[in-house]
């Protein structure tokens, strides 16, 4: 276990360990000479004493040296705990990056304290032992840095309280690095308190490269210390309303129950609240995830409504409720950015088939991309050179917040990249031959089998032209030569799908609708989930930002909320006239933990340390000077006992 010292300079005193040895050597040189007659007995005694007595004397000397060493160590105020490691005591500034995501509300082993509070308490005690260096807090909800006057204030601040927002760790660490660059922080350490939830850490996030570079190049040699709260619960149950759809006089809720115990057999009691009326039932299921549909009667109530689905409090109270709101069905709006021509016509038709849900498709050229209503867009179809600059940022933000986008290749060459991928040169099949879909994912993605088990006839697709893709992605369907036809990139809460051919008779028969229609419609449904019309949002998302003149007020009766923290809490809210149910991100219910190898890869080359005992101990570091003083006493007492002369009566020469 690494040890560090608050007074490292006093460790020079360890040289004093040699004092007993020096005294011993000097004493040996200061002997008195005597003439002796009974030499034979002396020689015999020396021979017999050589082994055990010499050992005893060595032990005595060692004990004396150890006693001095223990005293010096005690004076140097040692701290133990894997957290600091060697030399970690001289810290001018500590930047605390606090994960406030719902998964951090999991109770620790004591059953009374959440991981978040346990981490805060550990940090408080550790800072106190480090003589209270300057403290800067970057919380996962606001992602902004603020100086904290005293560690004691950490538990009182709204900026450290529980939220239902996502924690995007790479972004938070980047903020910390930026803070170090912009401020004179001296020797700085970044303390990252997190439960290592994989979705929060986003190992695929492109910002990790910048984080690595920032940590390595930091002029202050910033050290990243990770306070891991990664213990997994065995009895946690979470509930989520996936969608709330009004159909005639009923509200159809798609509900998902997730349990951490794969062998759970007992039923989960659920409470449904709809416009203040409550009902309950118990749901039994097998496995760790169970999705079902629940229809609640609306009666004659018209217009908007809201409610929640809740389960009893368990080891993580933050994932025991999911809110929903609904209103009149709003038609989906798809924005088609295209180069025009035949693909544009077919795509527009696939987006808004006549007579289906009154869905709309707005066709724009690439120059008109700034006309996209990012908030209300259900799906973005991008059949043009990949976006760059401002448009790319907007599109990225849209995807991060749960949007859906379908990318199709441009006719001409394109040298821009987006989300780390770029179109390759046009490829044409050999004369008289086609590119044929041979393998596609039938359980996931837009080409998955239907609920009735019928497969999408993707094998009918034939192409003579295509553009392959460079970059990292997940392949959902591939041509017979293993080149991708359909790929997916998950960006935050959103999804981007890339198809490598066009619905153009010069390219392929994609326009035959066997493939194009289900892909586009499923993408619309995917994009629609972002809203569950316009009534749901992720807590802390851009939908929850107040527009001019709006006032936020919570209207559900599940619980109260702190006004200072309201922007980051789940609930049903009124934003002026807007009704919005906010919930924790779906990724928070994926209890996958970042693996150590993943972390090593992410932070390769940086100075980082992982403290995995957090939550089990009160402090990340402990002072052990008392233990050392006790050890010194033990050493001295043992030494004294060993030095005691044997009783003279024991062996006395009888005359």
């Amino acid at each position: 276990m690494p040890v560090t010292f608050l007074q490292q300079s006093l460790l020079w005193g360890l040289l004093a360990v040699s004092i007993p040895i020096i005294i011993h050597l000097l004493n040996r040189r200061r002997f008195r000479t005597v003439q002796w007659a009974a030499m034979d007995f002396l020689l015999k005694a020396t021979r017999e004493s050589r082994g055990k007595k010499k050992l005893k004397y060595i032990i005595i000397l060692t004990l004396r040296a150890l006693a001095i060493a223990a005293l010096i160590f005690a004076i140097a105020r040692p701290l133990v705990g894997g957290f600091l490691g060697w030399g970690g005591s001289q810290v001018d500034t500590v930047i605390l990056v606090l994960d406030r995501s719902p998964s951090m509300e999991q109770l620790t082993n004591d059953g009374d304290t959440s991981k978040r509070l346990a981490a805060i308490k550990s940090v408080q005690q550790s800072l106190e032992r480090l003589n209270n260096p300057k403290l800067v807090l970057i919380d996962s909800a606001s992602a902004s840095a603020q100086a904290i006057p005293s560690p004691d204030a950490l538990t009182e601040l709204s900026a450290t309280s529980a939220t239902d927002t996502k924690a995007l760790i790479p972004a938070l660490v980047s903020t910390a690095i930026d803070y170090i660059s912009d401020n004179s922080t001296g020797r700085t350490e970044i303390w990252l308190a997190s439960d290592l939830q994989k979705s929060d850490w986003s190992p695929d996030d492109g910002r990790w490269d910048a984080v690595r570079a920032g940590l390595i190049d930091s002029p202050q040699q910033a050290t990243l210390r990770i306070i891991s709260m990664a213990s997994t619960a065995t009895d946690n149950v979470a509930v989520r309303v996936v969608s709330a759809t009004r159909a005639n006089n009923e509200l159809s809720l798609e509900i998902e129950i997730i349990t951490s115990d794969p062998n759970r057999t007992s039923a989960v009691p659920l409470t449904y609240s709809l416009n203040g009326s409550r009902s309950s039932e118990s749901v039994s299921f097998e496995g760790q995830r169970y999705k079902y549909r629940k229809n609640l009667p609306l009666g004659d109530k018209q217009g908007e409504g809201y409610g929640f689905v809740a389960i009893p409090t368990d080891s993580n109270p933050r994932d025991n409720v999911s809110f929903f709101a609904y209103g009149e069905h709003t038609a989906a709006t798809t924005y088609l950015i295209s180069e025009g021509g035949e693909p544009s016509r077919w795509l527009k038709l696939a987006c808004a088939p006549p007579g289906l849900n009154n869905d709309r498709c707005k066709s724009l050229s690439m120059d008109q991309a700034d006309q996209i209503d990012w908030i209300n867009a259900t799906l973005i179809i991008w059949q043009a050179p990949l976006p760059s600059d401002k448009t790319a940022n907007k599109l990225n933000e849209y995807l991060e917040n749960g949007g859906a986008a379908l990318f199709l290749p441009p006719r001409g060459e394109s040298d821009t990249s987006f989300l780390g991928v770029e179109w390759q040169n046009l490829e044409t099949s050999a004369q008289g031959q086609y590119f044929i879909i041979e393998d596609w994912n039938q359980s996931d993605g837009p080409l998955r089998d239907g609920d009735d088990g019928i497969s999408i006839p993707a094998s009918k697709l034939k192409a003579i032209k295509r553009r392959n893709i460079n970059g990292d992605y997940t392949t959902l369907a591939s041509w017979s030569d293993q080149q991708p036809f359909l790929i997916r990139q998950v960006v935050g809460d959103g999804t981007a799908i890339f198809a490598t051919s066009l619905p153009d008779y010069m390219w392929s028969n994609l326009a035959d609708a066997d493939v194009l229609l289900p892909v586009v419609q499923r993408m619309i449904r995917l994009g629609d989930l972002r809203f569950s019309s316009v009534f749901s949002a992720v807590a802390g998302g851009f939908e929850t930002q107040l527009a001019d003149g709006e006032i936020r007020s919570r209207i559900d009766e599940y619980s109260d909320s702190k006004s200072s923290n309201a922007a980051y809490e789940a609930g049903v809210w009124k934003f002026g006239e807007r009704l919005l149910a906010t919930n924790r991100p779906a990724s928070e219910d994926e209890w996958l933990t970042l693996e150590t190898d993943n972390m090593k890869a992410l932070l390769n080359g940086t100075q980082y340390s992982l403290f995995e005992d957090a939550g089990k101990t009160d402090s990340l570091v402990k002072e052990i000077w008392k233990a050392l003083l006790i050890a010194m006493l033990v050493f001295l007492i043992t030494e004294a006992l060993l030095c005691l002369q044997p009783r003279k009566s024991k062996i006395k020469v009888r005359t």
């Binding site: 200061r30 002997f31 005597v34 003439q35 007659a37 030499m39 007995f41 002396l42 004397y57 005359t655």
Partner: protein, 298 residues
């Protein structure tokens, strides 16, 4: 007085006490000690039948009158005592912590005892043994013998290794007549060899008295600081922490003393373990007292 190891007052005090032999002696003149032979003392010994050639003057006519048989009446013979002082003069006898050295103490004992012996008409001799017998004064009864003994004692200085064992064997061989062998030594030699030498003396029917002379410091071994111990006999040295080895040293010393006592007990030697801080007059007094015959005997 000429010799500093003689104390006239102590001699006067001790003069009243005789030195008795514990067994019959074979002297060459009449004396105060029992002889294994029949003689003309007043002490009746036994009757025996008359055999031809016996002096008729020794016939017991009263017994003849009673029994009508010829009996010769025999009496004990009294003779003088021959005492040999065997003084170990090896270098180790020069050891002294605070009091007299062993050799000084031995001089006092030997000088006083030889004075008492010659004063009571017995013969005294002296053997000084170092690596081999260095000097030997045969026992005589003459008063002038005292001067010889005192001179040798005064001149004797401890040196070299001990030759006690060889000296005892030599004395056992050379001394034909029974004698009192008084050994004064630290007995720092092999215990088994010592036992053999004593057995040799005993075999030659000598009465053995041993003054085993040690120093209190040799017994207690209570040094505190590290010491360099230099062997007085061969000058080899040893640096030791007395604290560490004291226990084993005392145990070795105890074993040595037990071995010596056992060897002395086997030959019925008159063993006296003495330390140089004791009063030599008391030691001699005790020595003489313990040798006095038991009540009922002369």
């Amino acid at each position: 007085m000429k010799y500093d190891f003689l104390d006239s007052e102590a001699l006067a005090r001790l003069g009243a006490m005789p030195l008795e032999a514990r067994q019959a002696m074979t002297g060459n003149v009449a004396g105060r000690h029992r002889s294994p032979h029949r003689g003309s003392s007043v002490e009746f010994a036994e009757y025996r039948k008359y055999v031809q050639g016996d002096d008729t003057r020794r016939l017991d006519w009263k017994a003849y009158a009673r029994s009508d048989r010829y009996y010769i009446k025999e009496f004990e013979a009294d003779t003088n005592l021959r005492a040999y002082f065997v003084l170990d003069a090896s270098a180790s006898m020069g050891f002294s912590a605070d009091d007299d050295s062993r050799i000084q103490f031995a001089r006092k004992l030997a000088a006083t005892l030889s004075y008492l012996i010659i004063d009571q008409g017995d013969a005294a001799g002296l053997s000084i043994c170092q690596e081999k017998i260095h000097l030997e004064i045969p026992p005589t009864r003459k008063p002038a013998q005292l001067n010889n003994i005192f001179d040798v004692l005064a001149k004797t200085e401890p040196s070299g290794e001990t030759g006690l064992i060889e000296a005892l064997h030599t004395i056992a061989e050379k001394t034909n007549q029974r004698a009192l062998i008084i050994i004064m030594s630290d007995l720092f030699c092999d215990t088994k060899d010592l036992a053999d030498a004593l057995q040799h003396l005993r075999y030659r029917k000598h009465d053995i008295a041993i003054f085993h002379m040690l120093d209190q410091q040799e017994l207690k071994f209570d040094f505190e600081r590290p010491h360099r111990f230099i062997d007085m006999e061969d000058q080899t040295s040893l640096v030791a922490e007395p604290i560490l080895i004291a226990e084993d040293y005392r145990k070795a010393m105890q074993d040595f003393l037990s071995g010596v006592k056992s060897a002395c007990h086997d030959v019925h030697a008159d063993y006296h373990l003495i330390t140089t801080d004791q009063d030599y007059e008391k030691i001699i007094h005790d020595f003489l007292s313990t040798r006095l015959p038991k009540k009922g005997r002369k």
